[in-house]
Symmetry: C2
Subunit: 207 residues, 2 copies
């Protein structure tokens, strides 16, 4: 890796930590330069604008997320085992991450960026739509494997699964409720149970 590429990586990692605590819009090239002992113009040589830096931070967080959650899940057998693995890893990701001391940037960015039209918002929307599609596709594979019922609304599954994770994040990070993880797991188990195929009708000989 060239010296320039290494410096760029260092800047993005520091920006990611800062954005995790200060928020996405709280990112300041000036503060970041001070923290890294660089000049503001030196930092600008790598990222021409705050927007460019924000997009690089989004790419880097997304890469961390995919490496921590999606890649190991994808290596698990498709269908229910993969969804369970994905959910466990997603909880672990939300729980604690040394690279993101203030929690998942992409979750926080969702409310921060929703009213800020532009390329940064567009990038976030594309990423999040892709993740929702991945969740729905995960449910579809479970239908194909016979783990979920054939008439399951897989988009609805993705909507409800996301809701569980949003609620977990709120109960954990804001309310610091020690029951949060237990509640998220109970909600997920119930979501899975509702998606299961109807049991075969048994003739009740003993009635």
């Amino acid at each position: 890796m060239s010296k320039g590429a290494r410096t760029k990586e260092t800047i993005v990692a520091a920006a990611m930590k800062a954005a995790s605590v200060e928020g996405f819009n709280g990112l300041s090239i000036g503060n970041l330069a001070t923290r890294l002992g660089m000049s503001k113009s030196g930092l600008f040589a790598h990222f021409g604008s705050k927007e460019e830096l924000q997009k690089a931070v989004m790419d880097a967080s997304s890469q961390l997320f995919l490496d921590a959650v999606w890649k190991p899940a994808r290596a698990t057998p498709r269908g229910l085992p993969r969804l369970r693995k994905l959910f466990d890893l997603w909880l672990a990701w939300m729980d604690s991450n040394p690279d993101l001391p203030g929690g998942c940037i992409l979750t926080a960015a969702a409310t921060e960026m929703d009213d800020k039209p532009g390329p940064v918002r567009d990038k976030l929307v594309a990423m999040q739509n892709e993740w929702m599609a991945t969740l729905a596709r995960g449910a579809e594979l479970a239908v194909n494997e016979g783990h979920f019922r054939a008439d399951l609304d897989c988009q609805q599954f993705a909507f409800e699964l996301s809701g569980i994770v949003f609620s977990l994040s709120f109960y954990t990070r804001l309310l610091r409720d020690p029951q949060a993880r237990f509640r998220a797991e109970a909600a997920f188990d119930d979501l899975i149970r509702r998606a299961a195929p109807a049991p075969a009708i048994q003739l009740a000989n003993d009635i």
Copy 2:
């Protein structure tokens, strides 16, 4: 109302609109003074610090929310009718509000403030804990009325109900998914169905 109280109200209303779009931490006394055609020191005469202003904005948004959602719901018969009313009004609140063009401040503040210890965060946590307790209490009343089963975990109900609303907010405000409201309603109907008492066992004469 005194002139001072009216001016204070005008400042808070403008700050609420600004925070709704710019975020809670994006609130700037300087920008606000410019917008209102006031001097920065004039504004400081009413709110001694950004923190004081943030707390006043939280109180005002909470009041709006209670007036729009909780008070009309409380006027509905307790149990399931009240929960349905509460949910409908909550969706309407998330949907659009001329006082909050950038959406619910208290939702956005949850991710903005989670890593910022201090009196503003403490106030938000107290408000949100109270709201979660109100949701759980609403479910308890439905149990008492016989609309929900006696062994329902009412805290779990509140956790899952919140998740539906968080997901709605994400799908609506960020993804602009036209199906979002439909999905939230379907998830709520299912939550209600799962909370219902088990049907009385019918002896099947026709088997």
